[in-house]
């Protein structure tokens, strides 16, 4: 399992558009991606659950990536967070 932490810089946090783009990105990989904020964790493919976490600017989330392609997936997804969130 790979993981990284990221602090959201997007002023509106993880809302519909970035969540949708994130789900699309994750679907390129076989690994399971989990987004964790405090006590809450969701499978990042579950769009509604992800949006329901209410992740805002300044929040730090932990992202775990687990699966056969976790090395490439984790790198790509971390890159996505930096570029879009």
């Amino acid at each position: 399992m790979k993981s990284f932490e990221y602090t959201i810089t997007d002023p509106v946090g993880i809302h519909a558009r970035p969540a949708g783009i994130l789900v699309k990105k994750i679907k390129e990989f076989a690994s399971t991606v989990t987004v964790i904020k405090g006590e809450k964790e969701v499978n990042a493919l579950k769009l509604m659950a992800l949006m329901g976490m209410g992740i805002k600017q300044g929040d730090t989330v932990k992202v775990t990536v687990e699966g056969a392609d976790e090395d490439t997936a984790a790198a790509a997804i971390e890159e996505f967070f930096k570029a879009n969130l």
Partner: protein, 165 residues
Amino acid sequence: MGLFDRFRSKEISGNEPGHVFQAVSVIRCAAGTVLQPVKGAVIPREAIPDETFASGMLGDGVGIVPEDELVVAPFDGDVSSVAESRHAVGIESNGMELLIHVGVDTVNMKGSGFTCLVKEGDKVRTGQPLIRFDRARIKAAGYSDIVAVLLTNSDDLKDVQCGVS
């Protein structure tokens, strides 16, 4: 098959006097039927003026050009998420995960012009008011007020049909 599979439309009266309209079904699938959650003309998903919605990235569904300022529950279900900026709500029922998103880029209004009438975890009945919105304020902010109604897990659902039947 849910009860609403028998309906092509249903009179929605909400809980508010004077708020009555004939809601047509806008999405149908094996798991159930989604009635239109706001009064107005139903347009294809592809015609929603936002690439994220139009492309289907957030799931299949329709757009509605609102003629009113009240979003009501399109089926009996559970409120799964409420956007902090009060412009969007998620409802679930029988495996259907539905996103109702009022306007395009309205997240930037940070809740101004929107009143959310439910909270996460609430059970709602068809026609129950969910979000009240101010079309004039959305227009003044320079955004489209088209309401996106999308089954975010449409890929996992069977026999999804969108549009007015």
